[in-house]
């Protein structure tokens, strides 16, 4: 999403770094680049202006010029300013007692309201609530069907009145229905409307009056251009907005809309939509986002993602295994866990210092499938102790998995590297562990994986002499 912006900032600061000494003009020049980058990212002109002015002021006040690491100081200022611009963040949804808590969703056509309703319902349900969705989009053909299908997918009931033309009535009845059926959260899905369409803006205002929602969320497409400001402003004028939800953040949009909409309305960004699946709704974190912009990676998200996949017990078991040395079976189990976290590319993007490198790199997720095939072609004994695999076994495994003997030795080599690293890491603190994981990933991205892809040989080592081979075998027989 913000990668391109990250690159630009990277360029600017690299150039400054090359110069050694920094002058006031250099700072101004860097900020001009920042300005263009932000404009290309669709940040609103007025917001850009305010942002660069503020950074300039702070940069001069902090005497960036005289510090030892001016680029770092400047990055920090830009970073802090970005955080401030997008924050403060409050991803909580305040529930009322007695319920139901009524949430009204509004937005332009095609911003992703209906899908977001489903995602939000799923999220709310996972927090122990019992949501109900109300199909109040009576404009678009089959919008009710869509919400019902989504409701079925997430297991949330949908209240709809087919044939009814008045969304105000449907919403009012929906809330009553929730009370009757003991649902404690009601999500109202309304029709998409243009902020300049007075008639429809009146209508949603009436819905608001009739249902007295506790939360009103505006759904905005993260790819929106300068117009995001107008949309956000007008909706904010007509409705009492409580928060913003930005959608389609899994695209390569630079997401300037997020910056501007927050600035203009002063309302917090609550969630961001990051994928087509109904789980893909994340809490918004300004600091993480700013970190991402500046290429600092997003370790926190990575850790959270990992936490969702690995439960504590498993982690403990894993810890023990790591210390005692893992087998290829464990390795495979880990790979499968990683696969369920998302594509390799997505995961790697979250690692500090990786985001800019990932772009040029074609990471093939099928590589993991090949690894799996290779491991499955091994005997249990070989999986426990891959050192026993010599040329003949290697040929057999390659044949069984439909790969090349070279691939087999490649896999074994990566595995031994990982295993050895794990052994070291199991004795480290959490922070050190993350750091070396990042280092390893960098190594992997630059070295092992692309090499594997080309199918070229992994082992650049010289061949063992007969004596060495004998010794190695002897060692493992013991």
């Amino acid at each position: 999403m913000f990668e391109a912006l990250t690159e630009r900032f990277g360029d600017v600061f690299r150039r400054i770094r090359g110069r050694g000494r920094i002058t006031e003009e250099n700072v101004a020049e860097a900020l001009r680049e920042v300005r263009t980058a932000l404009l290309e990212a669709d940040v609103h002109v007025s917001v850009v202006k305010q942002f660069t002015d503020e950074v300039m002021k702070k940069a001069l006040g902090a005497e960036v010029i005289k510090t030892l690491h001016p680029d770092q100081v400047l990055i920090k200022i830009v970073h802090d300013e970005l955080v401030q611009l997008m924050g403060p963040v409050d991803p909580r949804i305040p529930y009322v007692t007695p319920g139901p808590t009524v949430i009204l969703m509004a937005g332009l056509q095609g911003s992703g309201k209906t899908t977001t309703c489903g995602k939000l319902a799923k999220l709310i349900m996972s927090r122990g609530k019992r949501p109900l969705m109300v199909a109040a989009d009576l404009k678009r053909p089959a919008a009710i069907d869509q919400l019902e299908v989504i409701g079925g997918q997430v297991g949330v009931p949908v209240y709809a009145e087919r044939g009814e033309q008045n969304p105000v009535k449907v919403c009012r009845n929906g809330v009553l229905h929730a009370r009757k059926t003991d649902r404690d959260v009601v999500i109202l899905d309304t029709a998409g409307r243009l902020a300049i369409d007075d008639e429809l803006m009146n209508e949603i205002h009436q819905v608001e009056q009739a249902t007295q929602p506790h939360q009103v969320f505006l759904v905005i497409d993260a790819m929106t251009g300068q117009d995001a400001v107008n949309t956000a402003k007008r909706f904010n004028e007509r409705l009492e907005l409580d928060g913003l939800i930005l959608t389609k953040f899994d695209s390569d949009t630079r997401g300037g809309a997020a910056l501007s909409a927050k600035m203009i309305t002063g309302k917090p960004i609550k969630f961001i939509g990051t994928g087509e699946k109904l789980e893909a709704l994340e809490e918004f974190h300004a600091d993480r986002m700013a970190g991402r912009i500046l290429g600092m990676g997003d370790v926190v998200t990575l850790v959270e993602k990992a936490q969702q996949q690995f439960d504590a017990k498993e982690a403990e078991k894993l810890q023990k295994k790591m210390a005692s040395g893992m087998t290829l079976d464990d390795f495979m189990a880990q790979m499968n866990k990683m696969k369920s976290m998302g594509s390799m590319k997505d995961i790697m993007k979250l690692i500090p210092g990786m985001s800019t490198q990932v772009d040029g790199l074609e990471v093939d997720d099928r590589e993991l499938d090949r690894f799996e095939a290779i491991i499955q072609s091994m005997t249990p004994k070989e999986r426990r102790n891959p050192e026993i695999i010599e040329a003949s076994r290697r040929r057999r495994i390659a044949k069984g998995s439909g790969t090349d003997p070279k691939d087999v030795s490649g896999l074994i080599k990566s595995f031994t590297q990982v295993r050895d690293m794990m052994k070291v890491m199991s004795n480290m603190s959490m922070m050190d562990r993350l750091r070396s994981a990042a280092q390893f990933a960098k190594m992997a991205a630059g070295g092992i994986m692309p090499r594997l892809k080309g199918g070229s040989t992994m082992s650049q080592k010289r061949r063992e002499t007969r004596k060495e081979k004998r010794q190695r075998r002897k060692k493992h027989r013991r």
């Binding site: 263009t36 404009l39 290309e40 990212a41 669709d42 609103h44 002109v45 332009l108 056509q109 095609g110 911003s111 992703g112 404009k139 678009r140 053909p141 089959a142 919008a143 069907d145 869509q146 919400l147 019902e148 299908v149 989504i150 997918q153 243009l194 902020a195 300049i196 497409d221 790819m223 929106t224 251009g225 300068q226 117009d227 995001a228 107008n230 949309t231 389609k248 899994d250 695209s251 390569d252 949009t253 630079r254 300037g256 809309a257 087509e276």
Partner: protein, 306 residues
Amino acid sequence: MGLFDRFVKGLAKTRDKIARSFRSVLPFGKKIDDAVIDQLEETMLMDDMGPGTTTRLIAEVRTAYKSGEISETQEIIPFLKRRIVSYWPESDRKLIMAPSGPTVILVVGINGSGKTTSVAKLCHYLHQQGKQVILGACDTFRAAAVAQLTEWSNRLGVQIVKHQQGADPGAVAYDACDAAVARNADYLILDTAGRLHTQEHLMRELNKIQRVVEKKIPGAPHEVLLVLDATIGQNAVNQAKMFGQHVKVTGLFLAKLDGSAKGGIVIGIHDQIQVPVKFVGLGETPADIEPFDPESFVEALFSEAA
């Protein structure tokens, strides 16, 4: 209502905004100076023309000023109008027709850009001209997308080829091609699922649909229309580029132009991508479609508020 009137009406908001901002930026009968140009630049940026295009246009204004071609503020807008219209070459903005048999139109775009509504508009437009149109519901992914298109086909009175949700869109395209040939249709319009241009596998799926169609009907799809939401920002350029890499995009359908208070993105898009805008969507009913005409577009964009 004539074509121009409809355009003017649909663009009323855009024109209001631009005419107003340009007028306020450019006081009448003043010499051009740096302050005026700065102001002009800011306005163009706000209209989503993008930093690249804006810089270029501003440079042209400066050059024209230095060469004495223009000297006063009120000359800037007519100058820009001439420049912008000249950006659109005489590329054919008419729909490409099959020499014989059905003309296949593949409609693609990101989620929520307005594909299905645009398909309905296109269908209405061709149907009005007495053409026989068949719709193919290749959006088998989004919940109720097939139902949405079916509803349109009922309202418009045209035939539709569809499968179940979750079916292979390539298979739908296959059957739709068969039906179009067998029933001797003039046009086959294929609606596809919205997909982000960054999703490699979904882009490959799109390419597969194109290949299926190619195999069934030689020369097809004759037209691949990329639907772009007019409120979108600079990312529209990326979209057009990425879609172009996977399918042969032959034209743009600029949807929701009635909502965008700017419309300047068209200038940015056309400045960077050599694909003509073929249609614009100007409202919510199927009749709200117009062939894109740069003359009227720019005219409406810059004309005084009525």
